[in-house]
Amino acid sequence: MDLYFYVVYIAHIVPLIMFSLNIKLNKTSSHLTVFVYCLYALLNDLVRNSELISHLIPNLAKSDFLLLSTFTIIEYTLLAYYIYNLFKNKTFKRVLLIASCIFLVIAFGNLILEMNSNTPQFDSVPIAISSLILITASIFYFFESIQDPDITFIYSKPSFWVVVGIMIYFSGTFFLFLQYDNLSEEDKNNYWIISIICFVLKNIFFSISFILKPENQQVLNADEYYLNKLE
């Protein structure tokens, strides 16, 4: 368990370091959103692992649920906002906005309901909905990207790596979080590795995005590459 603990914290810290090292490149507001998300995820884990929250809410199950639910809502909001800014198509923006409103209503409703119960359950439904919306939004982003007539390799864009990270993380953990309440304690421990692997992958992809030049500062690298190849 100690190894997982270190791996998770290292994975938390790496993108933050990458962002700080390339702060000049990452001044754009969209990257700042991802940075805030990474920082918030680290702080959330730190608070969850400390006893800070138990001073405020003595019920351990409730305090943990509150932290997880809040994290789900804020995580979704930040990532949806990031993808929303990437969209050029107004219909995609509108669909994401409507889906986000639905998610927020469900997530807050679930939060209020579960906080009023004595033994709050894991917030599987809001997580599943947020995963589905974010995966769909990522597919929309890819669809929009391949229709873009710009001659730039998609993987040279930082936004591509962020979206890949989002997709891998949410598709990898979708079934785990959906079935979490139905798993035995032993299974939970066994399968938690999936979440850790996806989390590490996501943070690696985020780190890659932080070290790439923003789209507007890139040269059309495909031009040179293919013209040389064609000759």
Partner: protein
């Protein structure tokens, strides 16, 4: 029994979780890989198209440079072979005046020199007219084309006629010259290669479009032939037509008439761009 059911249900959940996660990840990775490869393919296709277009531009430029050089050589040859000897002869006659003091011989020499100078003037006028037809400059495309067709028809080799239906508003002078050169080139090709017994040219407009159509009953080319020749090193005249029309943002279509008897060439221009 209850324990067995619980165990079964737990195993099912595990199975769903395991295969679901694997499936989702496989789909995601598959989608990402597909997008990367698809985009590379699209970019590669776009670059190939761009390269082909550049090559065609290069060929058109080369053709136009070669044509210019040929034109210069023709003018140089006309001046050197025709005007040069004429002037040299006139000089000889005038020189004789200085040596020969006999009045009658002197007058004869001056007369001969005058004749030669007149011929030279006519020759230079012809060269100048071939560079810029005065009818085109003074009276416009319609008169110049009419003039050209009358000359061809009066030669008796081929029956040539033309009719301008709607040419009240003239094109810009430079553009008229380009259209005239294209028509000349087409006529030249028809005379050289088609074995036609008639050529008929019509002009008309439709909205913003300006059309010139030429029919002939000889052996012609289709659009596919035109495009093929444009891409190959052959067909210098056709490349010249293409590069001239590019300046006017115009298009040209070669086709066989529906009756399969005539060949038709259509030049299409935007009136707003060229007036």
């Amino acid at each position: 029994m209850l324990l067995l059911q619980v165990n079964n249900s737990s195993a099912n959940v595990s199975l769903v979780l395991f295969f679901g996660t694997i499936g989702m990840l496989a789909l995601t990775i598959g989608l990402i890989v597909f997008i990367i490869f698809h985009q590379r393919k699209v970019i590669r296709y776009q670059m190939t198209l761009q390269k082909m277009e550049q090559e065609q531009q290069k060929m058109l430029l080369n053709a136009s440079i070669r044509l210019q050089e040929e034109e210069r050589q023709r003018i140089a040859a006309d001046l050197h072979d025709d005007a040069g000897p004429l002037l040299a002869t006139a000089r000889l006659y005038l020189n004789e005046n200085l040596v020969n003091l006999d009045k009658t011989t002197q007058l004869q020499s001056i007369y001969n020199a005058k004749q030669i100078i007149d011929d030279t003037i006519q020759l230079i006028r012809n060269i100048s007219h071939s560079l810029m037809p005065p009818t085109l400059k003074n009276f416009g495309l319609e008169s110049a084309v009419n003039d050209q067709f009358q000359k061809i028809s009066s030669s008796g080799i081929i029956n040539a006629s033309c009719r301008f239906h709607d040419y009240k508003e003239r094109l810009q002078t430079d553009n008229e010259l380009i259209v005239f050169r294209v028509i000349q080139e087409l006529i030249n090709n028809i005379l050289k290669h088609s074995n036609a017994s008639f050529i008929h040219l019509t002009q008309n407009t439709n909205g913003n479009k300006f059309y010139i159509r030429m029919h002939h009953d000889g052996k012609g080319i289709t659009q596919a032939d035109f495009e093929r020749m444009n891409k190959s090193a052959a067909g210098l005249g056709l490349k010249n037509i293409q590069s001239r029309l590019k300046v006017l943002h115009g298009r040209i279509f070669f086709e066989k008439d529906a009756s399969q008897t005539y060949y038709k060439v259509t030049i299409e221009l935007n009136r707003e761009d060229n007036q």
